[in-house]
């Protein structure tokens, strides 16, 4: 297979590319859904193809094909060069790639039990038992559960001499119970709203208490129909790790993407309030807030040996003691913040899409204590758990989230369940109001598997490790004030 990738970059060079890289990728997936006692989509899929990226006269061209005949690959490389040549006609400054030593390497994500070696029957049996657990609770309208497995095998070669083979295995699953009464639609999910996924084998599925948890998930969905509406006002808010993971994703991850900061996403996802003069100067959060980008996190969905332009995986702080210190960068843009090497954040959605800056794993470093200790220390507040809705402006200031469930806290105790909790804020005010973060024992690697960005759109997955944390004087309930 690797020979075809080489053929692509050799052809591109011969046609005039100053730089070329190619990624040949085989993807295999299994996607199994169960709903209300029946299979609701059991699909095995596979895809193989090649993407070739070139610089011609300092301008980018990219073409991808599933025609892997020699002539198909040559046509693809030729098209990439033609596209690069057209790009060069509307170029202000030639692209400069930050240096990266050529790597010859093989990297494989940890996988003890190959999920594709586990029979379909075993997977369907597990789903059937989860489904039964969800439907064992009276009042559940919809019981849904799923398992997903992915293996990506890729070969990367470049005209600078890199030759990298990587294999990624991802396993995950989830469940959702929905209860409905007179237009009131409540749901609970586990482990989080999109499930729980890791770069791991079947062992991740085996170590998660799917069947045991299903009745509790269903009971909470039904109980929410009878719960009080979350009050509106300003409250101290404690966020569960699964909710805080998405808060990190939206209000820290995206605004630190350097391509956004420099206006390259302006027509779609937007730009960022974290403009260049704020690096090293802005007090992004309170002094206990430490956020670390980490492409080496074991099991992290955005962990790798090398990114999709051959840069070695790294770990570095974005926010240190509350101060904003660094961006997510690529080889093309590292020099724009005075850095000599890319941080290794270029990733692509499969073989058919071009690498762009994507979040690697991004975590909030733990503080101390347990969730119960944090709640005990809260005089009057609201504890919110599991994301249900999310939205943030295109500069990443103003956000609003809704969670599936909440509890009112009075003098350290949960006094009542609340439905429809929403909270709003402005990013830096919110993170500066963080006064407590739970400790290592509560720190969980939560997954995001549907992060969309770019034109054409690309989907990426990443992990946000975090423990629950408390934020003071937050606006709650605005989502239901309309």
């Amino acid at each position: 297979m690797k020979e075809l990738a080489r053929l692509a970059i050799d052809t591109a060079s011969a046609r005039g590319a100053g730089y070329a890289d190619a990624r040949l990728i085989q993807i295999r997936e299994e996607d199994l859904h169960f709903k209300n006692g029946e299979p609701a989509g059991v699909e095995r899929s596979s895809s193989t193809g090649l993407g070739v990226r070139v610089l011609v006269d300092g301008a980018w061209g990219f073409a991808a094909t599933d025609d892997l005949s020699r002539s198909g690959v040559e046509r693809c490389a030729d098209l990439a060069v033609s596209i690069g040549r057209a790009s060069a006609r509307l170029l202000q400054e030639p692209v400069r790639l930050a240096p990266e030593p050529p790597h010859q390497a093989v990297w494989t994500s940890p996988c003890r039990i190959d999920p594709f070696s586990v029979s379909l029957q075993a997977k369907l049996d597990l789903l059937s038992r989860v489904d039964e657990g969800l439907r064992s609770v009276k009042g559940v309208r919809n019981a849904e559960c799923f398992l997903r497995f992915l293996r990506e095998h890729q070969w990367f070669v470049s005209t600078e001499g890199s030759d990298i083979e990587q294999t990624f295995t991802r396993s995950g699953g989830g469940m959702i119970a929905t209860a409905v009464r007179d237009g009131d639609i409540q749901r609970r999910s586990f482990p989080a709203s999109e499930g729980g996924h890791l770069l791991s084998g079947w062992e991740h599925i085996e170590s998660t208490p799917w069947v045991e948890t299903a009745p509790r998930v269903a009971e909470e969905a039904v109980a929410l129909l009878r719960a009080d509406q979350c009050p509106a006002g300003t409250f101290d808010v404690v966020l569960s790790g699964s909710q805080l993971a998405l808060q990190i994703h939206e209000s820290v991850g995206h605004p630190t993407e350097l391509d956004r900061v420099l206006g390259m996403e302006a027509n779609y996802a937007g730009t960022s309030f974290l403009t260049l003069e704020k690096q090293g100067a802005l007090q992004f959060g309170s002094p206990i807030v430490n956020l670390v980008a980490d492409a080496t996190l074991p099991g992290g969905l955005a962990s790798f040996g090398f990114d999709d332009e051959g840069v070695e995986a790294q770990r570095w702080p974005l926010v240190e003691n509350g101060r904003f210190v660094a961006y997510l960068t690529s080889r093309e843009l590292a020099h724009r913040v005075g850095e000599k090497r890319s941080r290794g954040c270029s990733r692509a959605d499969g073989w058919h899409r071009i690498p762009m800056i994507r979040m690697v794993n991004l975590g909030l470093m733990p503080g101390r204590g347990t969730l119960e200790e944090l709640l005990s220390d809260t005089d009057h507040g609201i504890y919110m758990e599991t994301n249900r809705s999310w939205s943030i402006d295109q500069l990443r200031y103003n956000f609003q989230f809704k969670t599936e469930i909440a509890w009112e806290i009075r003098r350290g105790k949960r006094i009542r369940m609340l439905k429809n909790p929403t909270y709003q804020g402005i990013t830096t005010q919110f993170w500066n109001s963080c006064d407590a973060i739970c400790g290592e024992s509560e720190w969980v690697p939560w997954s995001v598997v549907n992060c969309g960005k770019g034109q054409p759109g690309q989907v990426a997955a990443m992990t946000h490790g975090t423990a629950p944390a408390r934020f003071r004087v937050v606006r709650v309930g605005a989502g239901y004030e309309g």
Binding site: E38, P39, A40, G41, R44, S45, S46, S47, A59, W60, G61, F62, A64, T65, S82, I83, A86, S87, R89, L90, Q92, L120, Q121, R141, N142, E144, T178, G183, D184, I185, L262, G263, M264, E265, A266, N267, G270, T271, D349, H352, S389, S391, I392, D393, Q394, L395, Y397, N398, Q400, N420, T422, Q424, Q455, P456, Q458, V459, G479, Y480, E481, G482
Partner: protein, 448 residues
């Protein structure tokens, strides 16, 4: 892929499957996108991608396998995997048998010049837009995307052709051209877009001129207080909200499960008398495929007529539950979502945009909205941000820029308070007008 080429692939699947009850869906095509930002091309890509999905049905059991190896060996593997998946699965009690041959309406949606537009032609159109932005001292950013086939915005692939072992064969070929441009003056911006099946309809320079005009007017915004305002929503803002509503409301399964605001309301007034919403792939501005993922012909469906809830859209499973016929809105079988409406039309009115603005004493002109998400599905309350041009309307005139708001608004209630509408246009895959409506709830102000 031509009809003959697609048919040859699907015939090979059916022949490889022998006597199995088999359905095969072929999708994909070619898509090219030139992207610019800061007045230069920053990304320029092209992809050729096809996907073949084979479903084997044995009584009430079914299994699917999907792949992009459409060689004879690859096809044999897909058939084998689908059959193996079907064999081990529990039964689906109401799984319908495969349908027989169907008759489809012709949809003229393919323009060869658009399908094969060169990188140079895309660059030239982008350059015209950039020139307008540069002249105004603004940063231009946008895309020009052209192609043929059924590759979606996020790489998802719809059916180009379907065949099954009961003799059904369906094929639809379309081309696409989409141009979107933002003009930026610092954190202020303007935006314009056009989509068509013909590249000849695209004028990047004219679109950029509209975006520039908005951006220049959007500078130095003042902060207005949150609250309920009369708004003029341009078509891009209306389209976004309609799509959110359709996704969580217009499918028959959602109604049957009580998860749609239409549940228990069919035949009742749910919106204003001036509101009629249809799903119609044959609308001249849509020109979409005339069949669904089961190969059933798609019928135009009136969902809301003069404010009265009329009907959701159906696939065969949901239709059978009510003793009805499918309206041809199925996703690949089986699935958790049920049928969906994807060719929305909100019928418009006779007003111009200026006329809509003239009818506002104190309110807001919203160019488009961003990052909408559902807050409450039962009332179709959505949240989101205004973007790329929010303007004050005072005594019937646009007077100045206003800082962007976050809103929380029930779309159903909004469509109960529509005062007037313009003629519809196509934006973001929806055919809809600009509307003027009262009581739009702006929840909080952002920083720009």
């Amino acid at each position: 892929m031509t009809l003959e080429e697609a048919k040859a692939v699907l015939d090979r699947v059916l022949s490889s499957a022998g006597t199995e009850e088999t359905e095969a869906i072929l999708g994909g095509g070619t898509s090219a996108l030139t992207r610019f930002a800061n007045n230069e091309i920053t990304q320029n890509v092209s992809e050729r991608r096809y996907l073949l999905s084979v479903r084997v049905q044995r009584g009430k059991r079914t299994g699917r396998a999907t792949g992009n190896d459409i060689s004879p060996t690859g096809i044999e593997r897909l058939v084998r995997d689908a059959a193996e998946a079907a064999a081990v699965q529990p039964e689906i009690a109401d799984l319908p048998p495969l349908p027989g041959p169907q008759t489809y309406r012709e949809v003229d949606a393919f323009d060869p010049a658009t399908a094969d537009l060169s990188p140079e032609a895309r660059e030239a159109e982008a350059a015209r837009a950039v020139a307008r932005c540069r002249e105004a001292g603004l940063a231009g950013a946008g895309i020009y995307e052209t192609g043929q086939g059924t590759i979606g915005e996020y790489g998802e692939i719809d059916a180009l052709a379907i065949a099954n072992s009961r003799g059904l064969f369906a094929y639809h070929r379309g081309s696409q051209a989409t141009f979107r441009v933002s003009a930026l003056a610092g954190t202020a911006g303007g935006w314009a877009a056009r989509e068509s099946h013909r590249a000849a309809d695209i004028d990047g320079g004219a679109l950029a001129a509209r975006a520039v005009e908005k951006a220049l007017r959007a500078r130095d915004p003042v902060a207005w207080e949150p609250g309920a305002y009369t708004v003029v929503l341009e078509p891009a803002a209306v389209a976004d909200m309609l799509q959110e509503m359709a996704w969580i409301s217009f499918g028959a399964l959602l109604v049957q499960e009580g998860r749609s605001f239409l549940a228990g309301k069919l035949g009742q007034r749910v919106m204003g008398e001036n509101v009629t919403i249809r799903d119609d792939p044959y609308h001249p501005l849509h020109r979409s495929a005339p069949f669904d993922a089961e190969g059933i012909p798609t019928r135009p469906v009136t969902i809301v007529e003069n404010g009265i809830a009329k009907s959701p859209v159906y696939d065969r499973r949901t239709a059978a539950k009510e003793g009805k016929e499918s309206t041809g809105h199925a996703l690949p079988v089986p699935n958790t979502l049920g049928p969906i409406a994807r060719n929305l039309v909100l019928e418009g009115g006779a007003e111009t945009l200026d006329g809509l603005i003239a009818g506002v004493d104190r309110g807001l002109l919203v160019t488009r909205v961003w990052y909408t998400n559902v807050v409450d599905p039962g009332t179709v309350t959505i949240t989101g941000m205004t973007r790329d041009g929010l303007f004050a309307i005072e005594q019937g005139r646009v007077t100045r820029a206003v800082r962007n708001f976050r809103f929380n608004q029930s779309v159903v209630q909004l469509l109960g308070r529509v005062e007037a509408m313009s003629a519809p246009e196509r934006v973001a895959g929806v055919v809809c007008p600009a509307i003027r409506a009262s009581g739009f709830h702006m929840s909080s102000v952002t920083e720009f």
